[in-house]
């Protein structure tokens, strides 16, 4: 799992690459700390290369979403694959996030 966070003007862009499974989520929860620190901004989660996500990964996304809601920021999810979209749908996350397709 590779997480790349880029700080653009008013938005934080976070690109996921690989599988966000349970062990990966342990590391990822630390890696996304800058996002939580900038939760007052717009945060773009780029899922173009996100191959897999489990409930622990979803929990990380939920944590970011809650933090932005608290600090006045915004989360946009971009370019999720069909399989991931299905998982979002199954869990009701689809309605929690603003999802933008490519």
């Amino acid at each position: 799992m590779e997480i790349t966070i880029t700080n653009n003007d008013n938005a934080m862009v976070c690109a996921f690459k690989g599988r966000l499974d349970t062990p990966a989520s342990l590391q990822a929860s630390k890696d996304i700390q800058p996002l939580l620190d900038n939760a007052d901004k717009e945060i773009i989660l780029d899922c173009t290369d996100l191959e897999y996500i489990s409930s622990s990964g979803l929990r990380i996304l939920l944590g970011i979403r809650k933090e932005t809601a608290r600090k006045g920021g915004k989360v946009i999810i971009k370019n999720i694959r069909e399989e991931i979209r299905q998982v979002f749908l199954m869990t009701g996350f689809y309605n929690l996030f603003e999802i933008q397709d490519a």
Binding site: T22, P23, Y52, S54, S55, M90, G92
Partner: protein
């Protein structure tokens, strides 16, 4: 009881009266016919007897008459020789009286030419006076016999003549009749008559002694109708039969008088003095007399009257008895009718009960036509309309739950307990997967308030259809047979107590694996205890022999052939107990493609191995990428749960993941030896909650449920086992 509580009662009574009336008519008709013929017979008999008496009396009279006539004729020659000799004539008359005891007097009366010396008519006469024989000259100046009938008739006809009876004032001084015969002298001139007197006392005696029946009277009349013997005291003063007949006032009596005078014989009925009499009459030809025998009719028919009375009494008795019998029968019929009505109602209700009961049991065979791994057939033949046997089965989470049972006793009570048992089985096994626990719960529930002391032998099995693993618990029921490869053997069972004997009992559960193409044959004791006419039981041995021959057959064929074997044994003997058979044929999983294992330590870092595991399976079976990913996700969530919850921090353990791939589905069995944790009990998250309220946990099991088609958990042998199934 009211007399007629129904129209049918009245009908019965009327029918009873009809029967009695018919019987009475039949009896009376028979009696009347019998009476008629009896009377006729008796009349004929009376006629015969009367005629016999008439003949006999006739003979006796004729014999006497003969004696008299012969005596006279025998002396005719002497008289002719001695016509001029008066002394000799006296001697002749004397000798006639002497020689013939029936002759009380005899005279030789001559014409006036033979006058005596003193000019008197010459008529020497001898007669009995007591025991002496006296003689005298009959002709006197006062007694001119020339005009007497006994003289004139014979002289006129030149033949012997019997006179009318008369009171002899001139000679015998008694009622008599006289026979006279003409005398011819040597030239052939008729010169007088020889006579013989016959006492009518003697005749009276002879005729009166005729006693055909009690009260019989007889009469004898002369040829002019003078009654020589008087038949009735009332008629003593009547001189002729016609006078007497006139006195009776019955025209029949007149007819009889005329018939008798005409010299006819016959019989007639006459009524006088208020009494009917039979009169039989016949002439006495030699004398021109006629005799009649008079018999009171009652005397003739006395016997038939007595018999008639007895017969009538007997008939009345018989009719009364018949009436009594009919009344009883009718009452019984009414009672039987009521019993029959009640019986019919109960039978109807039992039939309905039987239908309800049968409706509780599975009855569509084969029950799972789309499944290739399992084949089931069952039959229940109740001995009475409703029975206490039961069986049931259903599939839940790829496990076949089945049971068979036999309630103690028969009939309605047993069927009620049966219904309760079946219902409890469904309820309890809906959320339990261990047979021992199912039975234990059922037992506790059924033991509570079991006042009737009925119990149920019960066998519960749970068959894992994927693996053939069978868990079972036997509560005192007949041991099922395992049929495989040409042998039928009882499976190993711990008997345990039957259900409902006592609450809180411990039941031992057992386990075995059914090989593919084997059958489990379950039955109730109605099968092994089926008796033939000689009370020989079918028995376990015959069952095992019969079952051993048919191990390769389908469940239906197998049950039918064992049923046939029982029928052959029993033949025509009545079925004494419910007979239930349940056959579960396990055919294994012929479509099982692969079976893979992955064993992980309880370390989150090992989770990625699941991805490789799923990828391998997906490649092998050509699963699509999205499906593979979803399976991976479900496995990861399930295994993560195990690692997090079953193995708390610091403990070490393994997680076993088995993947079984079929053509149409894939199954995962995830087991661990950690502390009990049932993920299926975790509450479903509410996906519609607003962001702030969304909990962090609970998503994992939700994903598992969403992805998989069936999820079930069991805890057994200190292991948590989670079964996952995904249809492809």
């Amino acid at each position: 009881m009211r007399l007629f509580n129904k129209k049918s009662d009245l009908m019965l009574l009327l029918r009873g009266i009809g029967v009695i009336a018919t019987a009475a008519i039949a009896l009376e008709t028979t009696s009347l016919i019998q009476y008629y013929f009896s009377r006729k017979g008796l009349e004929e008999e009376a006629t015969l007897r009367a005629e016999g008496e008439l003949n006999k009396t006739n003979l006796e009279i004729t014999s006497v008459v003969d004696q008299v006539e012969t005596a006279i004729r025998n002396n005719l020659w002497s008289v002719r020789q001695e016509l001029g000799n008066v002394d000799s004539l006296y001697k002749i008359t004397r000798r006639i009286v002497e020689d013939n005891p029936v002759i009380i007097g005899s005279a030789i009366a001559l014409l006036p030419e033979y006058r005596t010396a003193r000019g008197q008519l010459l008529a020497p006469y001898s007669y009995l006076d007591g025991s002496d024989i006296l003689s005298k000259q009959l002709g006197t100046d006062e007694y001119n016999y020339l005009r007497m009938e006994w003289f004139t008739e014979s002289m006129a006809t030149h033949e012997g003549h019997w006179s009318e009876p008369y009171y002899d004032a001139g000679g015998g001084e008694m009622m008599m009749t006289t026979y006279s015969y003409p005398i011819q002298d040597k030239k052939g001139n008729y010169v007088g008559v020889v006579t013989a007197d016959l006492s009518l006392d003697w005749l009276t005696e002879l005729v009166s002694k005729v006693q055909v029946y009690p009260g019989t009277r007889s009469t004898l009349i002369s040829n002019r109708g003078t009654m020589m013997v008087v038949p009735d005291d009332d008629l003593v003063m009547q001189t002729t039969i016609l006078d007497g007949a006139k006195l009776t006032g019955d025209p029949q009596a007149m007819a009889i008088g005329q018939e008798m005078l005409a010299g006819h014989s016959g019989s007639r009925k006459v009524t006088y003095s208020g009494i009917q009499r039979h009169v039989f009459y016949a002439p006495i030809p030699r004398t021109g007399w006629s005799m009649a025998i008079i018999i009171p009719s009652d005397e003739i028919f006395r016997s038939v009257k007595r018999i008639g009375l007895i017969v009538t009494l007997l008939q009345v008795l018989a009719l009364l008895t018949l009436a009594l019998i009919i009344q009883r029968t009718a009452r019984n019929l009414v009672r039987y009718q009521k019993v029959a009505d009640t019986k019919e109602r109960i039978e109807n209700e039992l039939m309905i009960a039987s239908k309800i009961q049968m409706a509780m049991l599975p009855k569509i065979f084969p029950p799972y036509p789309d499944r290739s791994d399992i084949d089931i057939f069952a039959t229940l033949v109740p001995a009475k309309e409703v029975g206490g046997d039961l069986f049931d089965y259903f599939i839940r989470d790829e496990r076949l739950f089945f049971c068979i049972g036999d309630v103690s006793g028969k009939g309605v009570p047993a069927s009620l307990v049966m219904a309760v048992t079946r219902s409890l089985f469904r309820t309890v096994s809906g959320h339990e997967i261990y047979p021992a626990r199912i039975i234990s719960h059922m037992n506790d529930s059924m033991s509570e308030g079991n006042d009737s002391n009925m119990f149920v032998t019960f066998f519960v099995g749970v068959l894992d259809l994927a693996t053939g693993q069978l868990r079972y618990c036997n509560a005192g029921h007949n041991t099922p047979l395992l049929l495989h490869d040409g042998t039928a053997k009882p499976i190993d069972v711990v008997p345990n107590l039957p259900l409902a004997v006592a609450g809180g009992m411990h039941f031992v559960q057992q386990e075995m694996t059914l090989p593919p193409d084997s059958s489990l044959f379950l039955y109730t004791d109605g099968l092994t205890e089926a008796e033939d006419a000689g009370h020989q039981l079918f028995g376990e041995q015959r069952l095992e022999e019969a079952a051993g021959k048919v191990t390769a057959l389908s469940a239906h064929e197998l049950v039918e052939s064992i049923h046939d074997a029982v029928r052959q044994h029993v033949e025509t003997a009545p079925q004494s107990d419910d007979l239930t058979m349940l056959c579960i044929r396990y055919q294994g999983q012929p479509d099982q493609l692969s079976d893979r294992h992955l064993i992980l330590h309880n370390d989150i870092q090992q989770i990625p191995q699941l991805a490789d595991f799923v990828e391998t399976i997906a490649e092998e079976s050509g699963l699509s990428q999205p499906v593979a990913m979803s399976l991976n996700l479900a496995l990861e969530e399930a295994v993560t749960n195990v690692i997090v919850y079953a193995y708390p921090d610091g403990t070490d353990g393994l997680v076993d993941i088995e993947a079984i791939l079929h053509k149409d589905r894939i199954r995962f069995i995830i087991s661990d030896s950690g502390q009990p944790f049932d993920p299926t009990q975790v509450q479903e998250p509410d996906l519609n909650l607003p962001l702030e309220e969304r909990p962090i946990g609970g998503l994992g099991i939700h994903l598992v449920r969403s992805i998989m088609d069936e999820v079930s958990y069991e805890r057994t042998a200190d292991k948590n086992i989670l079964y996952l199934l995904k249809r492809l």
